[in-house]
Each structure stands twice: as structure tokens, then as C-alpha cells.
């Protein structure tokens, strides 16, 4: 009885729920392997008996998938790099440096969480257009190097930094270590989990970002995957099965990334979520 309650019930639930969560993605996979006339077949769980792998190859002819991926990767990596350079700095300043701005600045970080991006969207667009930066990656990438609009990530980092005992920092100060050295050689190594977590989170959100590229990129040659696929379906004669194949390829890298980073990722969140 307890065995049923302890093992069978949870397992059944877990397996069933996993199926529910996976179903739409399996559907994506099956549609991406259909031929045109199988698209509207009205059988649930229909998987084409002769999968049409050609759809995947065709994507590369219909749209410049390689270029779109390269663009997306470039924007994503730059954004991740920018944020991982700038955010820990301010996280450190609001956690372990006893200065006048420590508390007010943290309050501002929290306040920016409440500020809807719509408030800054229009003026920023105007600024960038005056600077002639529309159509370039600058408006997408530069803000990350200054942690702009990244309150949530700064918050996550600061929370983790707070879990590092201050005595450690103090001891190093007494030993005469410079602040930069304490930061680089003590803080950062200790905070790897949260840096990894934030890195993954930023990667995921930038990789799939839609609004930013929609606003700032004009030329198809600079499009990211999100925008490229969106443009692809705005045109007539959409090749649905190819669009599905392209979407599958778009999604795979982030699933892989999650698998690889899973352990560190959960660790970083686990600690940040709890300790105050």
C-alpha cells in the first residue's frame, strides 16, 4: 500500500505529465517531417511513416539559416558577455562594499524591476534612431555592458553575493588585498554558480528575444532567428513543414545548453532563491 502511495502514484503522475509537456514538441517534430499533403491529416499522434528529412535540408535553401544562426549567436554571446562583465560589479558594490550608495542603489535596482520596458521603449528608439544606430546590433547589445534593464539579474547576483560571509572579505582587506583583487580572486570564484545561472538565463532570453530585433533590425541580412522565422511566415506561400523544421533547429541549441548547464544552473538558483 505504501509502496503504491510512495512510488506508483508519483511515477504515474510524473510520466503522464511529462507526456503532456512533451506532446506539443513531439508534434513539432512530427510536423517537421511531414510532406505537404500530410500536413492537414486529422489523426492525433500521427507520425509520418516515411519521415521527410528533406524538409530540414530544404530550410537551408529557403532561408539563410546559417546566417540567421550566426547573427543570433553573435548577439547572444555579446549580450551574455556584457552582462557577466557588468552585473557582478554592481552586485559586489551592493553587497560587500560599505559605502554610501550601497542601500540606495540596491533600492533602485529593485525599483527598475517594476518599471515596464514600455516606458523606456519609445524614447530609447528615438535616441538610437538619432544616433543612426537603427539596423545595427548596438541597441541590442550595448545596454547589457552597462547592465541596463537587467535589474532581475543584478538582483539574483546580489542575493548570492550576500551569502558569502563578509568576514572573508574583511579578512582579505586586513591582509591588504586590493578591492579588485578581492573581487576577482575571492568573490567571483565563490560565486560561479550564480554567474553560470545568470549566464544561462541571459543566453536563453536573448537567443529567443523577439521584440528587440523586431524594433531595431531592418535588413534581412542582419536578422536573428526569431525575426527571420517571423518574416518567413509573413510571406505568402509559407512552407509550413520547413518552418517547423527551422523551429526545431532553433530550439535544439537551448535544450542542449540546458542539459549541459543543468547541474550548475539549479545550484545557482537554489541558493539565490532562499538565502536572504
Amino acid at each position: 500500500m505504501t509502496l503504491v502511495k510512495r512510488k506508483v502514484v508519483p511515477y504515474t503522475l510524473l510520466v503522464l505529465l511529462s507526456l503532456v509537456f512533451a506532446a506539443p514538441l513531439l508534434w513539432l517534430l512530427s510536423t517537421s517531417l511531414k510532406s505537404k499533403d500530410q500536413l492537414f491529416v486529422t489523426k492525433p499522434l500521427y507520425f509520418p511513416s516515411a519521415p521527410r528529412w528533406q524538409n530540414y535540408a530544404d530550410v537551408f535553401h529557403t532561408i539563410d539559416f546559417v546566417r540567421l544562426s550566426a547573427n543570433t549567436l553573435l548577439v547572444t554571446l555579446l549580450t551574455v558577455a556584457g552582462l557577466l562583465i557588468s552585473a557582478p560589479l554592481v552586485a559586489y558594490a551592493t553587497s560587500h562594499i560599505e559605502w554610501r550608495g550601497k542601500k540606495p542603489l540596491f533600492a533602485v535596482v529593485l525599483a527598475t524591476l517594476l518599471l515596464p520596458y514600455q516606458v523606456t521603449m519609445v524614447p530609447l528608439y528615438i535616441v538610437w534612431s538619432k544616433l543612426g544606430a537603427i539596423g545595427t546590433y548596438v541597441p541590442l547589445v550595448l545596454p547589457a555592458f552597462l547592465s541596463a534593464g537587467a535589474g532581475y539579474y543584478v538582483f539574483l547576483m546580489r542575493q548570492f553575493f550576500m551569502t558569502i560571509p563578509n568576514s572573508l572579505v574583511q579578512a582579505a582587506r586586513i591582509d591588504g588585498a586590493s578591492e579588485m583583487r578581492i573581487y576577482a580572486q575571492i568573490m567571483l570564484p565563490l560565486c560561479k554558480p550564480v554567474i553560470a545561472t545568470v549566464g544561462v538565463l541571459v543566453f536563453l532570453s536573448t537567443w529567443s528575444d523577439f521584440l528587440g530585433p523586431l524594433l531595431y533590425l531592418n535588413d534581412e541580412r542582419t536578422y536573428t532567428l526569431s525575426l527571420g522565422l517571423y518574416a518567413f511566415m509573413q510571406t505568402h506561400y509559407v512552407e509550413w513543414e520547413q518552418l517547423m523544421a527551422a523551429s526545431a533547429m532553433f530550439t535544439v541549441p537551448i535544450i542542449v545548453l540546458f542539459f549541459l548547464a543543468q547541474k550548475q544552473f539549479i545550484e545557482g538558483i537554489a541558493l539565490t532563491g532562499i538565502k536572504g
Binding site: L17, V90, L115, P116, A148, Y183, S208, G276
Partner: protein
């Protein structure tokens, strides 16, 4: 010593402060100025006083979009929190293969919006979609989902539950940190698992619930990408209203985007943004006020 600390603090915060000034504070102030004026990129700014705010209160589309947005906020928030908490609770049971199940539950939340919209558009196809063809097997006729004004938002709620993995993973982290000893002493008292959930689990993670609640409220007040994508995927022709059937997908952020970047009424858009800001701040404040009654802070 103190002065030196002030200088170091400032230096370490310098990039953030610069970003704050240029990319947050300046535009926030500018949009307030814009909200009292009529202008776009082609014509100079003209002061119009409160006209844009008056427009917000008079325009039917705005009230429609507010109702739609409230629907999402009031339903999607609890749905995603409850779905996230329940799946987290399930994953927190000591079972083998936890990491595999965790991945299954988490992946949907990181699928790019464009891909998930595309998938759901097909899953919800009235005739050949997964859901309706399953219902068909059971002899039932499913609704027209994204084409029927009564079903568009329930479709989005469904997608929300599916994508609740982000909420789930934070709850999971919180659950794993609830001290074992609390459960053990409850076991000695002979408490059932339901009682343990309500008297130990929920209070222990209540600060996290508060955090997630506030973050979700903010997300759904600003709900945009998914609806934008679905509205443009399901409509045929050169319609630029992006509103879905009978405007049932016209959310506040979508209307705001349309005013700004389709119709170039930057004044309207800026005023709308400020109203949104005020509403967000107000709701957050109310939630925090109420939280004193239901959030318990542990000993640390």
C-alpha cells in the same frame, strides 16, 4: 577609510549607474514629457497637455485591452503559480530519474516564443490539431480555439500552464531548502501529507511565493510576444490591428506597441506606458501590504 570605500563603491557601480542614467532614467523622464505631447519621428513635438491621458480614458480599444490584460493577470498568474508549485512538489519527491522529469517540465518554458506559438497554432487547429483530434476520438467536438473570441484567452492560459517551468524551477529550489527536521517532527505527530503541505511547506516557501507572485504580475501586465505572434499568425491578409478575433487578443502592451510603431502616435504610447507603470507600482504595493498577513519569514 570610509571615503575610500565610497570611491570604490562608486567605481564598481559606475557601469551600472551609467546604464541607469542613459538607458533607464533619461528615457523614463523623456517618456513622461512625450506623454504630454503629440509627436512622431516625422514631426516636431507639440505640447498637448492632458489630451493623451484623456484619450486613454475615452478610447474603447484601451478599455478593451485593459479588460483583456486583467483577464490574463487574474487567471494566468494563479495558473502558472499553481502549476509550477504542483509540478515542483511532484519533482521534490525522492524519485529516480528526477533530472529527466525536471527537464521535461522545464523545456517548454525556454522554447522561443516564435516556435511555441507556431506549435500551439497547430496543436490548437480546429480540425487537424492535436487537441481537437484527440477530442474527436472521444466523440467530442472541440472548440475553434484561436479563432473563437471566447476561446482565445483560455488557449493562452493553457499555453501558460505548459510554459510554467520557469516558475517550477524556482519553487523546486525553495522546496529543497525546507528543513527536513520540520517534516520529521510532523511525522512524529502523525500529520498527513496534505496537512504537512499546508502547515509546513506553504508557510516555509511563502516568501518565494510572494516573489514569484510579484514577478508574474509584472510579466502578465506586460504580456506581449505570445499574443502578438498568435494574432499575426492566425489572421489572413494585410490586417495590422494585431488584435485577434473580436479584439480578444488585444492586450495593453500590444495596443501600446501599435500606437507607437504602427500608427506612430508616440504621445499616446508614452501616456499608456506611464499608466502601466503606475498600475504596476500600485498593485505591487498592495501585494506587499497584504503580504504581511500571509508571508512568514523564517528564523534567518
Amino acid at each position: 577609510m570610509r571615503r575610500k570605500a565610497n570611491l570604490t563603491g562608486l567605481l564598481f557601480s559606475a557601469p551600472f549607474i551609467l546604464g541607469l542614467l542613459v538607458f533607464t532614467l533619461y528615457p523614463t523622464g523623456a517618456s513622461l514629457v512625450y506623454s504630454f505631447s503629440d509627436f512622431n519621428l516625422f514631426k516636431p513635438l507639440a505640447w498637448v497637455g492632458l489630451d493623451n491621458y484623456k484619450w486613454i480614458f475615452q478610447e474603447k480599444e484601451v478599455s478593451k485591452s485593459i479588460l483583456n490584460t486583467l483577464y490574463m493577470v487574474l487567471l494566468a498568474t494563479p495558473v502558472s503559480l499553481i502549476a509550477g508549485l504542483l509540478t515542483a512538489q511532484l519533482l521534490n519527491l525522492k524519485v529516480k530519474g528526477q533530472s529527466i522529469f525536471r527537464t521535461f517540465f522545464y523545456i517548454p518554458s525556454i522554447v522561443p516564443v516564435i516556435a511555441s506559438s507556431l506549435v500551439w497554432m497547430w496543436v490548437l487547429n480546429p480540425k487537424s490539431g492535436l487537441i481537437n483530434s484527440l477530442l474527436d476520438l472521444a466523440g467530442l467536438r472541440g472548440p475553434n480555439w484561436l479563432l473563437d473570441a471566447a476561446w482565445t484567452k483560455p488557449s493562452l492560459i493553457l499555453m501558460t500552464a505548459w510554459g510554467s517551468g520557469g516558475v517550477m524551477i524556482i519553487f523546486l529550489a525553495a522546496l529543497q531548502d525546507v528543513p527536513r527536521s520540520l517534516y520529521e517532527s510532523a511525522d512524529i505527530d502523525g500529520a498527513g501529507s496534505v496537512r504537512k503541505f499546508f502547515s509546513i511547506t506553504l508557510p516555509s516557501i511563502s516568501p518565494i511565493i510572494l516573489f514569484q507572485l510579484v514577478m508574474s504580475l509584472i510579466v502578465y501586465f506586460q504580456y506581449f510576444a505570445q499574443a502578438f505572434m498568435l494574432a499575426s499568425l492566425t489572421n489572413s491578409g494585410a490586417d495590422q490591428t494585431m488584435a485577434g478575433p473580436e479584439k480578444s487578443l488585444l492586450f495593453y502592451a500590444i495596443l501600446l506597441y501599435r500606437e507607437a510603431f504602427v500608427d506612430f502616435r508616440m504621445g499616446h504610447a508614452s501616456a499608456m506606458a506611464w499608466v502601466l507603470f503606475i498600475i504596476t507600482a500600485l498593485v505591487t504595493w498592495l501585494v506587499f501590504r497584504s503580504s504581511k498577513r500571509w508571508v512568514t519569514y523564517g528564523g534567518d
